[in-house]
């Protein structure tokens, strides 16, 4: 197991902080400490030849709160078939809203704009009924909290089989057989018996396996996993991560894997997108991003990954908190917390720019 999944803490949880913070230390953290491995080793769109045919092409996605504040602010990314994209950022930076916007499941009152092209059709322009046909079939989602995400009054089996009945027109008997088969695949012990049990009879880890089965029952082309292990015990986390990686490769599904923990992401994804205050601040192939992080925020996030060699010491987390969506800084969103901030940063917001092949960052100081 890689060092950075040994212990999972919130990236910005504070341990004993070294006295010195700032530029020197931030740079010191880069020194080859993190060795990511690409999850599936597949070529990314940027490396393949010819015009890329994306499974998912998100352009300028904006989610606005009922009060008119930007919560997701112009996010663009693409995803190939079978590829895994990690989305990271601290809590509240807009990861869940981004995924809910893709699913068309935003809370009432929020509005969305931009383009979400999935298998050639813009999900934001399709009729609600058409999106419902795709949802749970071609694209599916796993939610963060398995304790609250399952209906307490329905058997877990019914909740899985439901998708097959809805999208495949299976009869109950066939839906049951196929659901039990999948429950075995997600390694739920005593799958046949569990099928008829209720969520409260299952542990958190088992419930998340059920959630995974529920999402994969129709073999979606895209699976969105929103912090699928955050609510689980550390020992269970690794099992669930392995299971997800295995199943998505089996089915050939692409995956958007969301986490606040850069360490978890490094293990499991082909590419990483870093969100900060509703904006995409850096995006690139996992290896490139971990070896040469270009945005100060990404570097800061890496600083909050626990070090295995100095167990008692934590590297500095990023000082300060997310800006309020209602009162964002006028220039770069990260400027109030950035050790590199200059005059230009205060006035003008940087756009994403390519720093190396397929690796983009939104920082005036990039490439570092």
């Amino acid at each position: 197991m890689s060092p950075y999944v040994l212990d999972c803490i919130h990236p910005f949880a504070r341990g004993p902080l070294p006295a010195k913070t700032g530029k020197t230390l931030l740079f010191a953290q880069q020194a080859g400490r993190i060795e990511p491995r690409t999850a599936s080793g597949k070529a990314t769109a940027w490396q393949s030849e010819g015009p890329p045919q994306f499974l998912l092409d998100v352009r300028d996605l904006r989610v606005t709160s009922s009060g008119g504040y930007p919560l997701v602010d112009g996010v663009s990314f693409t995803l190939n078939r079978g590829e895994t994209l990690g989305i990271v950022g601290e809590s509240g930076c807009g990861k869940s809203l981004t995924s809910l916007a893709l699913m068309g499941l935003l809370p009432p009152g929020m509005s969305v704009s931009g383009q979400v092209e999935f298998e050639g059709a813009d999900l934001l322009k399709l009729a609600p009924a058409t999106v419902r046909d795709l949802r749970g079939d071609r694209l599916a989602m796993i939610f963060q909290d398995p304790m609250t995400s399952l209906n307490p009054t329905l058997t877990v089996g019914y909740q899985i089989a439901e998708g097959l009945i809805r999208h495949r027109g299976c009869d109950r008997r066939e839906a049951r057989d196929r659901s039990i088969e999948l429950l075995r695949k997600v390694k739920l012990p005593a799958a046949e018996r569990r099928f008829d049990e209720y969520p409260h009879q299952l542990s958190g880890g088992m419930r998340q396996r059920v959630m995974i089965a529920m999402a994969l029952i129709c073999q979606p082309a895209l699976l969105i996993a929103d912090e699928p292990t955050t609510a689980l015990d550390v020992t269970v986390q690794a099992q669930i991560l392995d299971l997800l990686a295995e199943l998505k490769d089996d089915l050939g599904s692409a995956m958007i894997f969301i986490s606040h923990d850069l360490g978890v992401v490094a293990e499991n994804v082909d590419r990483v997108a870093v969100l900060y205050a509703g904006r995409l601040v850096e995006e690139g192939p996992t290896r490139s991003l971990f070896e040469q992080p270009q945005h100060p925020y990404t570097i800061g996030l890496m600083g909050s990954i626990p070090r295995i060699d100095t167990t008692s010491e934590w590297l500095p987390a990023i000082a300060g908190t997310l800006p309020l969506a209602s009162d964002p800084p006028p220039g770069c969103r990260f400027e109030p917390r950035c050790p590199f901030a200059g005059d230009k940063c205060r006035e003008e917001s940087p756009d994403l720019a390519e720093v190396s092949a397929g690796h983009r960052a939104a920082c005036w100081k990039a490439p570092l």
Partner: protein, 314 residues
């Protein structure tokens, strides 16, 4: 489940005992002398004494309680001081009327209350929500006897499509029975439907904000399936408890409506008995009400357990 049931029934026994003690003692504290009431104002002391002896009114309290309980054990609730009928006879005459009335009212209340509650919740803040809440407020704040009088004026006097009052037993003529029941049942049901609508609405809104509803939507289910299969089951839980309580209220609170529509029901029986100091009838009726309440609670618990798997298998 069987254990749960036995437990609940076991709990009912001491409760019924306490109710019987309280009913019996309160009765003794009521002002007025039943012997005097029966004998009339001009009665001679000898007649009064005779009545007291006949109904054992001079026995010590504990002895009278003992006799009462012993009687109950044999299905004997005593004799009405006024009509000389047995209390059991009186109750079996009157209870079916009230039971039918309350059941019809409850059916109206649940049908109307739950569907309006769901409609209001899913169109929260919209015109449908507003209309439903206005109707609920109207139902709750309109006194039943007043609405009853309006109904009679409209349907019986003006349009002459329903009988103004009276009661035809179900066994005699089901259609006439229904015609005589529909107005009082609607009057009673409307008031209750307001309460049920409000509770359904708030329970539904709470449930719809749950994560598992989002999960259901993420499966691509239609909004109808989300609401009726995923949300309503959970929203039904508080409504079941409320429904049982409201049904109990209906059974014991139909007096005014029964009076307005001249229904020979349970409510009227109790009120008459209290005014006439007809101890045996009051005691029997209250005890009967208590048992019905307990049974309703038991039924509500069973229904609750049927919907809520967390309570099953205990």
């Amino acid at each position: 489940m069987t254990r749960f049931l036995l437990q609940r029934i076991g709990l009912m026994i001491p409760t019924i005992f306490f109710v019987s003690v309280i009913v019996f003692s309160l009765q003794q504290l009521l002002p007025g002398d039943p012997a005097l009431t029966m004998a009339g104002d001009e009665a001679s002391p000898a007649l009064i004494a005779e009545i007291r002896a006949k109904y054992h009114l001079d026995d010590p309290l504990l002895v009278r309680y003992g006799k009462w309980v012993a009687g109950i054990a044999q299905g004997d609730l005593g004799i009405s001081l006024r009509t000389q009928q047995t209390v059991v006879q009186l109750l079996t005459q009157k209870i079916p009327v009230t039971l039918e009335l309350a059941t019809l009212a409850m059916i109206i209340a649940l049908t109307f209350g739950i569907s309006m509650g769901i409609l209001a919740a899913i169109s929260r803040g919209g015109p449908m929500d507003y209309v439903a809440r206005c109707i609920a407020l109207f139902g709750i704040s309109m006194p039943a006897f007043w609405l009853g009088i309006l109904f009679i004026l409209l349907f019986a006097v003006k349009w002459r499509i329903l009988p103004a009052s009276g009661y035809v037993p179900l066994t005699e003529n089901p259609l006439e029975n229904l015609r005589s029941m529909i107005m009082p049942a609607t009057v009673l049901g409307l008031a209750v439907s307001g309460v049920i609508m409000r509770h359904t609405r708030s329970a539904m809104l709470q449930v719809l904000s749950n994560d598992y509803v989002r999960t259901a939507r993420a499966k691509g289910l239609s909004e109808t399936t989300v609401i009726f299969v995923h949300a309503l089951r959970n929203a039904a839980l508080p409504v079941i408890t409320l429904g049982a309580l409201e049904f109990g209220q209906l059974l014991s609170g139909t007096v005014l409506t029964e009076t307005v529509f001249s229904m020979p029901g349970f409510g009227k029986l109790v009120v008459d008995a209290v005014f006439n100091r007809d101890y045996a009838v009051v005691q029997g009726a209250v005890l009967c009400t208590a048992v019905v309440f307990l049974l309703l609670n038991l039924f509500a618990d069973l229904a609750y357990a049927a919907v809520n798997p967390r309570l099953r298998g205990r």
